[in-house]
Amino acid sequence: MTNGENATPGLWQGFVAVIRRDLLLAWKRPGDILNPLFFFAMVCTLFPLAVGPSSEQLSLSGPGIVWVAALLATLLSLNSLFLSDFEDGSLDQLILSPQPLPLLALGKTVAHWLSAGLPLVLVSPLVAVTFHMPGRTVGVMMLTLTFGTMSLSLLGAIGAALTVGLHRGTALLSLLILPLAMPVLIFGARTVALAAADDAVSAGIYFLCAYCILALSLAPFATAAALKISNE
C-alpha cells in the first residue's frame, strides 16, 4: 500500500487507510454484510412465529424484539472483525504501524459500523412495519439503533480483540459482550417502547448518546491493549 510520499503517513491518513481497506474487503465479499442482515430479519420473524400473530402482543413487544435481533446480528458480525487479520498476519502489521494502535483500532471499528451497524439501521424500518410500529416510533427506533449499534461496535471490538484466534471464540465473544451490552439494550429498547406509548424519549436518547461518547473515548484503548495481548 504505497501512497507515493516519502514521509510516514500521518494519523488521519492511517485512520482512513484502515477504514478504506476494511470497506473494500467487505465490498468484495457482500456475504459479510448481507448475512447478518438476513439474520436480523429472520430473528425478527422468529418471534411472531413462535409467539403468535396477535397484533396487540406484537406491537407491544416489537421494540424489544427488533433490539434483541439487532444485538444478536451485531454479535454475529463482530466475530470476524479481527479474525482474517490475525490469520494472515495483517494484525502484526497493524500493531507495528507507526500510527497509534488505538486510532487504527477505532478505524476498524468505524469500518465495522459502516458495514454492519449502518445497514441494520437502514433496514430496520422494513422490519418495524411488520410489528405495526407507528411512524414516530420508527424514527425513534432508528435513532436509538444508530447510537446503539455504534456503542455495540465499539464495545464489541474489545471482545473481538480479546477472543481473536481462540478455540470456540464465537460463543465466548457472546458471553463476554452480552452482559456489558445490557445498558445499551435496556435504554435502546425501552426508549422505543416509550415512544410507542407517546411518552418522553429524551432521557433514553441522551443516555444512549452519552454511552456512545464514553465508549468512543475509552474502547479504542481497551481494544488496542487486547489486540497486543492476543497477538503475543
Binding site: 474489545i158 477472543t163 470456540r168 465466548l172 452480552l178 456489558l180 445490557m182 445498558p183 435496556i186 435504554f187
Partner: protein, 250 residues
C-alpha cells in the same frame, strides 16, 4: 513501607505471611457471623410488614455486598497486575473470581427465596437489585471462561485483566440502567430498609454479618491465592524445597 510491599509481592514471602494472617481473619469472621446469625434470627424484632421473613436479609445482603466486594478486589488487583506487572496481583484476581461468583449465586438464590413469600413468585424481574446481580453473575462467568480459554497463564492474566476493567467501568452503568428500567414500572424491591432507618436491634446483626463475611471472604481468598501461587511457581526452587522438606499439606 515500599520495602514491605515489595517483599509482599514476592511469592515466597507472601506464602509465609498469608499462612500467619489467615487465622486472624477466620476467628473474628466466625465470631461476627455467629453473633449476627443468633442475634438476627432470634433477637431482632420481626419486621412490621414482612414478619419473620425479613430475617433472610441477614444472609442476602451480605452475599450481595460480598459479590460486589469480590468484583472490586478482582478488578483492582487485575488492574495493578496489568499496569505494574505484578504476578501475585494477577493471582489475587484469579482467586477472587470463583468466590465472587459463589456469593453472587447465593445472593440470587436467597433473593429468590425471599421473594417467594413477598411477591408470590420465585423471580421478579421488577426487582432491580436481583436483575443486576444476575447480570453480574454473567460477568463473572465471562471472566472465568476467558481465563479458561487461554492456555498461557501470562496471556490469560492480561486478557482477563482487560475484561475485568472493562466490566468494572460498566457495572455502575448496568446498575443505573437496570434501576431506570425497573422504575418505569413501579417494581417491588426486596430490601425496604437500606440505611440507618433500621432500628439498631435489626441493624447491628446485619453489620456484623457483613463484616464477618468479609473477613471470611478474606480468609478464603488468601487460601485460594496461596494455592494459585504454589501452582504458578511450581517449578521454582523455593516451592520444591518447601514441598520436599515440610511435607507441606496445607
Amino acid at each position: 513501607m515500599w520495602k514491605f510491599l515489595h517483599k509482599l509481592a514476592s511469592p515466597p514471602h507472601f506464602y509465609d505471611l498469608s499462612a500467619k494472617i489467615i487465622p486472624w481473619f477466620i476467628v473474628p469472621g466466625a465470631i461476627l457471623v455467629i453473633y449476627g446469625t443468633i442475634a438476627g434470627l432470634f433477637y431482632a424484632p420481626p419486621d412490621y410488614q414482612q414478619g419473620d421473613a425479613f430475617r433472610i436479609i441477614y444472609v442476602h445482603v451480605p452475599a450481595a455486598y460480598l459479590s460486589m466486594l469480590a468484583y472490586t478486589v478482582m478488578a483492582v488487583s487485575a488492574g495493578i497486575g496489568l499496569i505494574w506487572r505484578i504476578k501475585l496481583s494477577h493471582a489475587v484476581a484469579a482467586g477472587a473470581a470463583p468466590l465472587g461468583a459463589w456469593f453472587t449465586f447465593l445472593a440470587l438464590i436467597t433473593g429468590s427465596i425471599w421473594g417467594r413469600p413477598m411477591w408470590g413468585t420465585w423471580w421478579e424481574w421488577g426487582d432491580p437489585r436481583l436483575t443486576s446481580e444476575l447480570i453480574m453473575l454473567f460477568l463473572y462467568f465471562g471472566y472465568m471462561a476467558l481465563r479458561a480459554a487461554i492456555d498461557d497463564t501470562a496471556k490469560a492474566d492480561k486478557a482477563s485483566a482487560v475484561l475485568a476493567l472493562v466490566g468494572a467501568v460498566n457495572i455502575p452503568i448496568i446498575h443505573f440502567s437496570v434501576e431506570w428500567w425497573s422504575s418505569l414500572h413501579q417494581g417491588a424491591t426486596l430490601v425496604r430498609a437500606d440505611g440507618p432507618a433500621m432500628p439498631t436491634e435489626m441493624l447491628y446483626p446485619l453489620l456484623a454479618m457483613i463484616l464477618g463475611f468479609s473477613f471470611i471472604f478474606g480468609a478464603l481468598l488468601l487460601g485460594r491465592v496461596r494455592s494459585e501461587v504454589l501452582f504458578r511457581e511450581r517449578r521454582s526452587r523455593w516451592v520444591r524445597s518447601l514441598v520436599l522438606s515440610s511435607g507441606e499439606q496445607g
